[in-house]
Amino acid sequence: MKPAQFEYHRPDTVQEAVELLDEMEHRAELMAGNQSLGIMLSTRLATPENVIDINRLDALSGIEVADDRVRVGAMTRHREIERSDALGRAVPMLPEAAEQIAGPAVRNRGTFGGSIGEADPAGNYPCAMAALDGTIHLRSVDGEREVPADEFFIAHMFTELEENELIVGGSVDCSPWPSERSGMAFDELKRAAQTWPTVSAAAAVRVDDPGAGDPTVEEARLALANAADVPLGVPDAEDAVEGEPLSEGSLEAVAEATMAAADPEDEMHADAEFKTEAAAEYARRAIRTAYERASG
């Protein structure tokens, strides 16, 4: 048997789950979709005494769009995010990020909250949530608290999450992104479904008048995955495109700002220099695509 022995707990309510967590703290591992934890258990890199399986917490699963706020429950599977029409209208970056994760069998199980908690620098949702100024919602026996995405991620597998806390979901304010004059893009460089992307870029752009030939960019957001050890926002790139129609010149400035901000790790198949250049190119593409989508 590959995983080491552990005690299994399957709470039926969120309250029960946080009580278990509070009791066990570091002696327990939460099990969401198990698409990453399952690997760690198989290799015994993780040997928890207790596993708290949160797959039957229906309250944590689902997508809600109300009053300009989109909320995605932690146990919502990638497949549901990928196929959600409501998300497709309000924050199309999320379904686009979801559909590029692995293959269908992984997306049938893997969850939004699991990916946020894993905090892999190459992860899609951490990057998208950073680009969208999203909020991560946490709960413990002491109640709920909210952490802005750009403060939540500290390093690979390190986040603001306390030992006794559970990620219950994420939310995004979509009022800056009215669909008729906004566009979003999530663009990744990836060679095979099973691998993590080498780099990804997430962009959102709002223009003044999509009917105009070259509409002016009112607001732009850009974040990159795997270009640093946390999702990397590039404010200089955003500044470079705002206040004028998108041009080759401003896209060049996006690429330069990204190169300057990127601080990636070497990997077996991509050294830091290559990843920096790829990040710049993907930043440029994502901004361009988002602008084209915003312009109708």
């Binding site: 048997m1 590959k2 995983p3 080491a4 022995q5 552990f6 005690e7 299994y8 399957r10 198990n34 698409q35 399952g38 690997i39 258990l41 198989s42 290799t43 015994r44 596993v51 399986d53 797959n55 497949r79 692995a102 293959g103 269908p104 069998a105 992984v106 049938n108 199980r109 479904a193 099973q194």
Partner: protein, 176 residues
């Protein structure tokens, strides 16, 4: 590397009851038992292939409540109350091949066959969701499965042929 597997205490166990290929099964399992090992070893379903055992190859793909899942990344205890279909559950009376299996056979979509049950099960889910997939959709639909010997072209052809059979609605056994 040697791993000391001797449990310090009596291993904890859990009762589960689930449906496997249409039959109700009850068992007492250790929580760390993977669904793949439960199906292959304890239920004798040798069509569930155990390759990498950590989510990379897709050989262990089965349907859980109709959805494709890598059974090495699910615990048997998590399948409590679910309906499982393995490749064995696709064949018709007297072992008649399912149209998808028929199509794999005819297009030479296998060599050693190790990956085949995973591909066949993944194809079942794919065609249920998209009865007429183009190449791109097929590639994406089978992206979780790895084949080390046949190459993917024949496998993609098999999926196209299986889709045609489903259109004709008259080929082979099973419930295609």
């Amino acid at each position: 590397m040697s791993v000391d597997d001797t449990p310090q205490t009596e291993p904890p166990t859990e009762e589960i009851s689930l449906t496997v290929n249409g039959e109700t099964v009850s068992a007492e399992v250790e929580p760390r038992l993977k669904l793949s090992d439960f199906l292959r070893r304890e239920q004798g379903l040798r069509g569930v292939r155990v390759g990498c055992e950590h989510g990379v190859c897709g050989a262990c793909t089965v349907l859980v409540d109709g959805k494709g899942v890598k059974s090495c990344l699910m615990l048997a205890v998590q399948a409590d109350g679910s309906e499982i279909t393995t490749v064995e559950g696709l064949t018709g009376d007297g072992g008649a091949l399912h149209p998808i299996q028929e199509a794999f056979h005819e297009t030479h979509a296998l060599q050693c066959g190790f990956c085949t049950s995973g591909f066949v099960v993944a194809t079942k889910e794919l065609l249920e969701e998209n009865p007429d997939p183009d190449r791109d959709a097929i590639e994406h639909g089978l992206a979780d499965n790895v084949c080390r010997c046949t190459g993917y072209q024949n496998i993609y052809e098999a999926v196209e042929r299986a889709a045609d059979y489903a259109d004709e609605g008259s080929h082979g056994g099973g419930d295609g």
